[in-house]
């Protein structure tokens, strides 16, 4: 831990921050909640909850259509939120940000629109062994429909991507590389800028699944250079049911619409429909206005705290937990990539993760157990699943100590 990070952490008033997340004050099984399932979804600060209540209390109306006061106010707030997302990701234009229901829908949008127009029989799509089902299944479906082939880049023993294999697999048949920024199961941070550079040298389009990344690190889509970047609001302290897709303007403009309906059209006759411009071309139907506004507020909230501070705090928690885990010879950490986000997947001796998770829950501690929607990865590691503790900046060392107590109890009961 360098001095800069120590200072960064010292500047964070954890008690104050925790008090801003009302759910952290509740108890579970008569014990104070310890929430270590942040990779599944993060908790929401009061400002986000207030924004949702305020929207439905004072602003609710349909956007982009009405000339009336409320509609204009709601439209302004909705578009301001888009601008906040643009700024957060450092996209060039706000119309490069398309609202979706979340990361999964964003990937499906690319598969359904770009994929159906650009993938043909004999083409290849390259993914990695680290992918979440959301970044596997849409491509499988597309490959099946088109007679294309899905290829999987393997990982090394420590859970990092086999970059030598990746380089070899980027053949002339590959049309798209779809890779996760951070593995939700192992925490591995992939070198997405490098991967994008390698793919672009061969004219291959790149999609990054950013579901896990936005909450942990500064993401700059222009610096990465990728063509698509998919993300979810609820994993960045925002509401569920809202997310987005960043797409480079040139790529998005060349794509056919994804779904038909209102909002995505400029004019409709029974003979011919003229599609709307970006981003509305891809936003058919009434959008999720309230949650989009809440998403923007969440990004403001973490920007105010500072992503550097958050990253430093989370690294400190990860280092502490890793050190505690390594002190227990029965614990096996799954995934030891040098670049890792603040989550630990582990197994306790031969204890089934589900048994362990059930007992850990009795301590009021929320961890995730199972395959984490990465079944192929678990199969390749030859394990039935893992226990995953994923940390956010509002977690504490004391909470990690409680997890260690729960793990001791698990060992006592099952071994």
């Amino acid at each position: 831990m360098n001095t800069k990070q120590d200072i960064a952490t010292l500047n964070m008033d954890i008690d104050k921050i925790r008090s801003e997340f009302p759910i952290l004050g509740r108890s579970v099984h008569n014990k104070p909640l310890v929430y270590f399932d942040n990779a599944a979804t993060t908790q929401k600060p009061q400002v986000v909850i207030d924004a949702l209540v305020d929207y439905y209390t004072n602003l609710n109306s349909n956007v982009h259509r009405g000339v009336h006061f409320l509609s204009q106010q709601a439209t302004t707030a909705f578009e301001e939120a888009r601008e906040k997302i643009r700024k957060f990701l450092n996209a060039r234009y706000n119309y490069e940000i398309i609202y979706t229901r979340g990361c999964t829908e964003s990937i499906n949008l690319v598969a359904g629109s770009w994929g159906r127009a650009n993938i043909h029989a004999g083409d290849e799509i390259l993914i990695t062994a680290l992918e979440h089902h959301s970044n596997i299944v849409p491509w499988q479906m597309l490959c099946e429909e088109k007679g294309a082939k899905l290829k999987v880049c393997p990982i090394l023993e420590d859970g990092s991507l086999d970059m030598a294999a990746l380089s070899q697999m980027l053949t002339t048949a590959v049309r798209l590389v779809a890779v996760t920024h951070i593995s939700n199961t192992l925490g591995t941070i992939n070198p997405v800028k490098e991967i994008t550079r390698m793919a672009h040298e061969k004219g291959i389009v790149v999609l990054i699944d950013g579901a896990q990344a936005l909450s942990h690190m500064k993401v700059d889509v222009q610096d990465i250079g990728c063509d698509f970047y998919a993300f979810s609001g609820h994993k960045v302290y925002g509401p569920m049911g809202i997310g987005g897709l960043y797409g480079r303007e040139e790529v998005l403009n060349a794509m056919p619409p994804y779904q038909g309906g209102g909002e995505m059209i400029r004019s409709v006759t029974f003979e011919k429909t003229i599609y709307n411009e970006l981003p509305f071309k891809f936003e058919a139907g009434t959008p999720n206005v309230g949650d989009a506004i809440g998403f923007g507020v969440a990004l403001d909230y973490i920007s105010n705290i500072g992503l550097d501070q958050i990253a430093a705090r989370e690294h400190e928690l990860l280092a502490y937990a890793t050190e505690r885990f390594k002190g227990d010879p029965l614990i096996r950490i799954i995934g030891n990539a040098p670049e890792k986000a603040s989550l630990i997947s582990f197994m306790i001796d031969k204890i089934h993760p589900y048994d362990a998770g059930t007992i850990i829950d009795q301590f009021g501690i929320a961890v995730r157990t199972g395959t984490h929607c990465t079944q192929p990865l678990m199969d390749s590691l030859g394990i039935p699943g893992t226990i995953r503790a994923s940390f956010a900046f509002y977690n504490t060392r004391e909470e990690i100590d409680k997890l260690m107590e729960a793990i001791s109890k698990v060992e006592e009961l099952f071994l």
């Binding site: 089934h352 048994d355 059930t358 007992i359 829950d361 009795q362 199972g370 039935p384 009961l413 099952f414």
Partner: protein, 143 residues
């Protein structure tokens, strides 16, 4: 042979002794560890039960009058639950099993206390027990 209701009310009283859930789990774990071994040849895909985070195999044999269940799981707590179900239902006629209530699981607090995925696994196991009963009853009726 004791009736299903007698077994299930005995199970409920056993669980009543424990005040907190950690003790109940401890008991379930003991039951899991003491679950009679299933014949390895029955741990096949067709005996796997869907809807559980851990893998559960349930095998049924019908002797013409009663159904006999054996089970296994890779998770101990699940084995404990399987043990309870076997104790309640194994060695009974298809009709008895079909007529029996699953209320005892609510009384223990199992259905409320276990997480939904686990709970679904439990419900899937019960569903499978009842499916076997229905299948063997049909087989009986057809001679």
């Amino acid at each position: 042979m004791i009736k299903i209701e007698e077994s299930t009310s005995a199970i409920v009283s056993e669980f009543d002794i424990f005040d907190d859930w950690m003790d109940k789990y401890n008991y379930l774990i003991e039951l899991g560890k003491s679950l009679p071994l299933i014949d390895e040849k029955f741990k096949v895909e067709s005996n796997l039960i869907e809807g559980c985070q851990s893998r559960v195999w349930l095998h049924a044999e019908f002797d013409g009058t009663n159904i006999h269940f054996t089970a296994d799981s890779d998770a101990v707590i699940t084995k404990g639950i399987a043990n309870l179900l076997i104790r309640a239902y194994s060695g009974h006629t298809p009709q008895e099993i079909l007529d029996s209530s699953t209320e005892f699981l609510n009384e223990i607090g199992l259905t409320q206390h276990l997480s939904p995925t686990r709970s679904n696994g439990l419900l899937s196991m019960i569903k499978q027990v009842k499916m076997y009963a229905l299948a063997y009853k049909t087989k009986q009726a057809m001679g």
